[in-house]
Symmetry: C2
Subunit: 331 residues, 2 copies
């Protein structure tokens, strides 16, 4: 990111809302489905196939990120990515984002510019054609980024969590446990750090770099959501709260048991089961189908006493619950 | 609202996310356009006319509301209403809301229940068929309600801010200045109040009650947005930051001057010009057209030195700018 003196980089409280909005909008790329983009009371997005997929997800300073660890660019990127993943998990193609920002007045203008750059580049990298089409800016003592993502099913049925059938295979696309590893690195090595951690820092081993990148700038396999749908996925969801917990949700919605194979969960199966924020795609497919990018991690069984098994044994499913797990005093 | 003992009404920090979500979802009505409602990664909303209108707006504790003045019901209602107004201002019919809540852990469960009731009843009253189809819940020290509203143009073109032409009439539907009056009543009479102000309190005169109602539970004329579009409105917008400021925005987008008539602005023209948060609809129409519910307040002229005149004289257009106008220490 460009270095800039404080004189050139006013605090948000010292400039007008119009200045901030212009800085953001000048960094917005056109969305290929936008009939009307930012600047009016609302945006208008084309939905030629007759429906729109819509989801919202919020990042809050404290429970969801720390400015000591994340740059504005990181936060824009991650806020886009986690919402794009929810659209992908329905089997849809993301078309547009709306971004509601509540920002403290002592933040610098460059922070908001980086945020806008992160949104734009995440869309370009993960979901080409999708872009920010609208938003809202307000002031708050707690930096809060609420994003709504829209998507198009292109005439396909949505892939819900409820369609898994005994005999299907359980598969994932994307990383498992890396984001949680990245969080552990941040807490372990940068707990008291006062500036964002450079992902390419020489202080990091390559495994740590990959983990930090997964935590700070996740790159979920957005395009594979459409591929899974085309390949007749019977159920699909975004893994945001850890595989064990989210697999339990899919199992409950489908009234089945998912029997996972520990050997398929990589070098750190416990981390893969418990870790949150991966935004990998969890899907079930008929046993004779597996689209590129997905790997089999288990099988769907008739519903038993437990929704999720690993090598036949029950899996505890403690995922991330912000009400239980976040302590504002400890951070 | 039902009274309930603290024992029956746990703090959010003492219950699970699932309990909170069930309390909210049990209060959600079906949206008539929803193909898939809450509970999966995303909702799916029918858009038979081939496009979707989308807007987002956020209410933050401090600059946008105080829990000392607003009940949960009030906040749900207002959060819905201000977003529905943006959809209406495009000439569209609201179809669905997505609600991202960031809530402190010391709030009571009943507060969230009231919030959900307010969302539902505002939709039922102002935009029948529209309802909450999805959302997100996270924890924050600052209560923040970010809403996205979707709408359907039913085959019509969107009514932007940019189409006003010299010779058109300027018209409004809805109240002007009442919400600002309500805010003045709150600051003047309830500045140090510790509980929400009952809108029907005997402490209030009837004018004050109407003003407080406009501030705390605004009822913008949502259905008139579609009527204005059908009646060939040339431009339209939601008046959220005061008539003078927003009329200046419409004038700039259309490259015209709006010449308002002070006599048409009611008993308190200064309040009508400056007051924010009315969420009335400002529209321009060909001079031979005026749909029911709209009243003429001026005429569109060729662009002059000033975007907004009142009785031929320039109007200062200081609206509400949260970066300039909100002081977190003074509240």
């Amino acid at each position: 990111m460009p270095s800039r003196s404080a004189d050139d980089d006013p605090r948000l409280g010292d400039v007008s809302e119009g200045t901030i909005l212009r800085a953001i909008l000048s960094r917005t790329a056109p969305a290929s489905h936008a009939i009307l983009g930012p600047g009016d009371d609302a945006a208008v997005i084309a939905t030629p196939s007759g429906s729109v997929v819509a989801t919202t997800d919020t990042l809050v300073h404290g429970p969801d990120f720390r400015l000591a660890w994340s740059t504005g660019y990181d936060l824009g990127w991650k806020s886009a990515a986690v919402n794009l993943a929810d659209v992908a998990a329905m089997g849809a193609r993301p078309t547009a984002l709306l971004v509601a920002l509540a920002v403290p007045r002592d933040l610098r203008l460059s922070f908001v510019e980086q945020l806008a750059d992160g949104f734009r580049e995440a869309c370009e990298a993960l979901a080409p054609g999708c872009a920010v089409v609208g938003g809202d800016l307000t002031v708050s003592d707690v930096l809060t980024i609420a994003v709504t993502a829209l998507g198009d099913l292109e005439g396909r049925e949505p892939v819900t969590r409820a369609g898994a059938r005994p005999g299907d295979v359980v598969a994932v696309a994307g990383e498992l446990g890396h984001a949680a590893h990245g969080l552990a690195v941040l807490f372990g090595r940068f707990r008291d750090g006062g500036v964002p951690v450079p992902i390419d820092s020489d202080l990091l081993e390559s495994g740590e770099r990959a983990a930090l990148s997964a935590q700070l700038r996740p790159a979920p396999p957005i395009g594979l959501g459409v591929m899974a749908s085309v390949a007749a996925a019977t159920a699909m969801m975004d893994i945001s709260d850890g595989l064990a917990l989210d697999a339990g949700r899919l199992a409950a919605a489908s009234d089945v048991t998912l029997d996972l194979s520990r050997a398929a969960l990589g070098e750190h199966p416990e981390r893969a089961l418990a870790g949150g924020e991966d935004h990998a795609l969890l899907a079930t497919f008929p046993s004779d189908v597996l689209p590129p990018g997905f790997r089999i991690i288990g099988a769907v069984r008739e519903r038993g006493a437990d929704g999720v098994l690993c090598d036949g044994l029950p899996v505890s499913s403690d995922g991330w619950d912000p009400y239980r797990d976040w302590d504002s005093t400890a951070g």
